[in-house]
């Protein structure tokens, strides 16, 4: 069965610093991979998604993620974080269009001034 692991429950970075949030997946083929963000008292919103092609995917608000088949990873990155990036970030996986989407446990990001 497919699964997603986010090993870091909480990450704290200073404003202006770079960011990497880690995501590892388990699936026998290449899955569809997603990063979602959840702000307080809101639903999840898509940041970016990947299926094939260039392993570096650009998303909203200057986020990007890099897919690695050899490492079964899909890490989220940002060159310079802003205080408004403080939120919970979820990595997710799907087998394809119309299949269920499985989420990781999330990483809570706190950006300190």
């Amino acid at each position: 069965a497919q699964s997603v692991t986010q090993p870091d429950a909480r990450v704290t970075v200073s404003e202006g610093a770079s960011l990497q949030l880690r995501c590892k997946y388990s699936y026998s083929a290449t899955p569809y991979l997603f990063w979602y963000v959840q702000y307080p008292r809101q639903g999840l919103q898509l940041l970016l998604k990947y299926y094939s092609g260039d392993p570096v995917v650009q998303g909203v608000n200057s986020f990007e993620a890099e897919f690695s088949k050899s490492n079964s990873s899909f890490h989220l990155q940002k060159a310079s974080v802003h205080w408004s990036d403080s939120a919970v970030y979820f990595c997710a996986l799907s087998m394809g269009g119309g299949y269920k989407v499985v989420f990781g446990s999330g990483t809570r990001l706190l950006v300190s001034p």
């Binding site: 997603f34 639903g43 999840l44 919103q45 898509l46 394809g96 269009g97 989420f103 990781g104």
Partner: protein, 115 residues
């Protein structure tokens, strides 16, 4: 374009009481998902529909939970006899399955507290 609408926003119950959650997906979206999100955890799929048909309800506690989507549009999730362990936010999401890597659009959720 209207987003996914859920109601109520909050619900507080005593153990043993029943509660229903309602979801109105984005118009034209054929796939509808219900997720349970316990505090400080990721969303866990309960059930999802393609039009009015249940595609996967393997994680739905069938003795107390039920979900319907009778006309392939709105959906209701019901807990017959709530337990403290059901305390969580219940998220509804919709998508269009015709796209190869479809985006899920989420509502704001219903936060359930069972005392």
């Amino acid at each position: 374009e209207a987003g996914v609408t859920q109601s109520p926003r909050y619900a507080v119950l005593q153990e043993g009481q029943a509660v229903s959650f309602w979801c109105d997906p984005i118009s034209g979206h054929d796939t509808l998902y219900w997720y349970q999100q316990p505090r400080d955890q990721g969303p866990q799929l309960l059930v999802y529909f393609r039009d009015e048909a249940v595609i996967d309800n393997s994680q739905l506690p069938s003795d107390r939970f039920s979900a319907v989507r009778p006309k392939g549009t709105n959906s209701t999730l019901k807990i017959q006899s709530a337990k403290q362990g059901d305390t969580a936010t219940y998220l509804c999401a919709s998508s269009f399955a015709g796209v190869s890597a479809e985006t899920l659009y989420f509502g704001s959720g219903t936060r359930l507290t069972v005392l």
